[in-house]
């Protein structure tokens, strides 16, 4: 009997100690935010969305290589000699046309591994987190600003230059060969004459 009463008393007491804690919390200011109306400020450097300043990209593909999930796809075309693509804001010369720079944010795991390798600091995380989509394809962000026509033009030009280079190389090789043959024949002649 005494035991039961004691037990009841401790139960009663501990419940009301707990209630006291709850009461104290009730009088404190609320910690929750009413989300769509109120928003918490993200700290600087929060990782929520990738962004690329395409003007600063030099097409080195270091970010593509650093990505563990392969969500970055870059294609580049070498610029022909007659075009000067200028320099990035960090002073690196640009030598490639960036024909494709796609980031698939549905694959991205926000690990931030692509950001430190970038030599021109053109790829970075921006504090934007409300970009849900109904269609997964809309999460493929294309950063290349070249139009399709421009891409084919650039590609053709680059190919032509490449061909030209090859041709010149071949020609040079042929010339060299011819020269060599010439020299050897001359030497032979000399020998025979001697």
């Amino acid at each position: 009997m005494v035991q039961t009463l004691k037990k009841s008393w401790t139960t009663f007491k501990t419940i009301f100690t707990g209630m006291g804690v709850t009461m104290r919390h009730l009088l404190q200011p609320s910690v929750t935010l009413r989300y769509p109306e109120e928003r918490d400020e993200l700290p600087s450097g929060a990782r929520s969305k990738l962004f690329v300043h395409i003007d600063d990209c030099i097409g080195c593909k270091l970010c593509e290589r650093a990505c563990p999930v392969n969500c970055i796809a870059i294609e580049t075309v070498q610029a022909t000699k007659d075009v000067d693509l200028g320099k990035t804001s960090t002073g690196n010369p640009k030598r490639f046309w960036i024909t494709t720079f796609n980031i698939d944010m549905s694959k991205c795991m926000y690990c931030d591994m692509c950001v430190p390798p970038c030599p021109t600091e053109c790829i970075s995380m921006v504090p934007e987190y409300e970009y849900s989509e109904y269609d997964r394809n809309n999460l493929l962000f294309q950063f290349s600003e070249l139009s399709a026509d421009k891409v084919t033009e650039v590609k053709e030009k680059a190919e032509k230059e490449q061909e030209e280079k090859q041709r010149k190389k071949k020609e040079a090789a042929r010339k060299k060969k011819a020269q060599k043959a010439d020299q050897t024949s001359k030497a032979k002649q000399k020998n025979s004459e001697g």
């Binding site: 139960t11 007491k13 419940i15 707990g18 804690v21 910690v31 929060a46 563990p68 926000y110 690990c111």
Partner: protein
């Protein structure tokens, strides 16, 4: 005319029944399915069915071929204590490559790891209370956990999967207000532990539901190679930070709390719970000492290699996570990792469940699962 015999009611057989708990059961903390054989209200057999969250971590890590790229995947092994998973892996790779890490980085890693330990225990305790029907402590635990997550978010940029440690150093510089933030948290958190004690630890209902339930004797715990609060709750003082110090844990003074059976038997659910609560206080002590000793300046990326050149070798490193011993076993070749194996405490601790839940009530099974504090990401990898 043959006499009509009414079918005799079959004698009530004393049959057992098999029921499913999970995979979508709120008390299984993830996708765990328990095949429970019950005799009335008494559990006679439990068979955990795992594998719902299997993500092929080990094979994937081997196929990546680059030690640095594996770090974000280690986060996802045990997502509640991601920094500990990173820390174990990073230390293993550093040991393999024989890299020296700057002092400042070591201190930073210890502080972050202990903050993460508190956050993880808060979640463990909160959900344990939630399983037993105590909803309020869960919310208060989350308020405190939020404070830690804010610090970690400021440091690393993410709230849960940090990817902040890298081989040889840290991914980012330490923010200038990190020390003041952490001091503020440490001073504000001490009184909250008392509040938690008022709400749960000494609560009569809570004690009734946890004391003498799911008793795990020390011998059984050792035979199943349990670790962490699971083992310490059974009265075995074994903490890798003390017994096999890694990083710089040998420089700090702290106690290893063990279960003493204050409310019932040694090794019951209440003991496992109280070990976690007391460990939070010890973590606070470590954080305070580390903050005092931490060198004020230094480059955290000093020792980070530009490209990791793989070495031939074999290494096993074990660290103490909030759930127990986490081991990484790496066999390395010249071309990259050949085998990366993770020994996760959640998996090992879960294997004890059938042994300790025999003869318990179904309602107590919920308490036992909660007291093991498993993370299914860690069980399945």
């Amino acid at each position: 005319m043959a006499p009509v015999t009414s079918p005799q009611p079959a004698a009530i057989e004393n049959r057992t029944m098999t029921i499913n708990m999970g995979p979508q059961h709120p008390s299984t903390h993830g996708v765990l399915r328990l095949e429970v054989t019950v005799d009335g209200e008494v559990v006679t057999k439990v068979k955990p069915d795992i594998g719902y969250l299997h993500r092929c971590f080990e094979k994937y890590a081997e196929s990546l071929g680059d030690y640095a790229k594996v770090v974000p995947y280690t986060d996802r092994i045990d997502y509640v204590s991601a920094l500990h998973q990173e820390m174990g892996y990073v230390i293993a790779v550093e040991k393999l490559l024989e890299l020296e890490v700057p002092e400042r980085v070591e201190y930073m890693r210890v502080i972050l790891a202990e903050l993460q330990r508190i956050a993880s225990h808060l979640l463990g305790i909160g959900t344990f209370g939630l399983d037993l029907g105590a909803f309020t402590p869960f919310l208060y635990c989350f308020i405190e956990r939020e404070n830690i997550l804010r610090i970690l978010e400021k440091v690393s940029g993410a709230r849960l999967l940090y990817n902040y440690l890298c081989v040889g150093g840290l991914m980012r510089d330490i923010p200038t207000d990190f020390t003041s933030d952490t001091w503020e948290f440490v001073t504000s958190f001490r009184p909250k532990i008392k509040e938690l004690n008022d709400l749960l630890t000494t609560n009569s209902i809570f004690i009734d539901r946890t004391a003498n339930i799911g008793v795990l004797p020390a011998e059984v715990a050792l035979n199943y190679s349990a670790s962490g609060p699971m083992l310490r709750g059974s009265g075995v003082s074994w903490d890798l930070r003390k017994n096999d110090p890694y990083s710089i844990y040998d420089r700090f003074e702290f106690n290893v709390p063990v279960g003493q059976g204050e409310m019932g038997t040694v090794g019951d659910c209440w003991d496992r719970y109280i070990v976690r609560v007391r460990e939070m206080e010890e973590s606070l002590k470590i954080i305070e000492q580390a903050l005092d000793q931490m060198p004020g300046e230094g480059d955290v990326k000093e020792a980070v290699p530009r490209r990791i050149r793989s070495k031939e070798g074999e290494v096993y490193v074990r660290t103490e996570t909030p759930r127990g011993e986490l081991g990484y076993y790496i066999i390395s070749e010249k071309s990259g990792p050949y085998r990366i194996k993770a020994r996760t405490p959640s998996f090992v601790n879960l294997s004890i469940l059938p042994a300790i839940s025999k003869g318990a009530l179904v309602a107590d099974l919920v308490a036992i699962v909660g007291s093991i504090d498993i993370v299914l990401g860690g069980v399945d990898r």
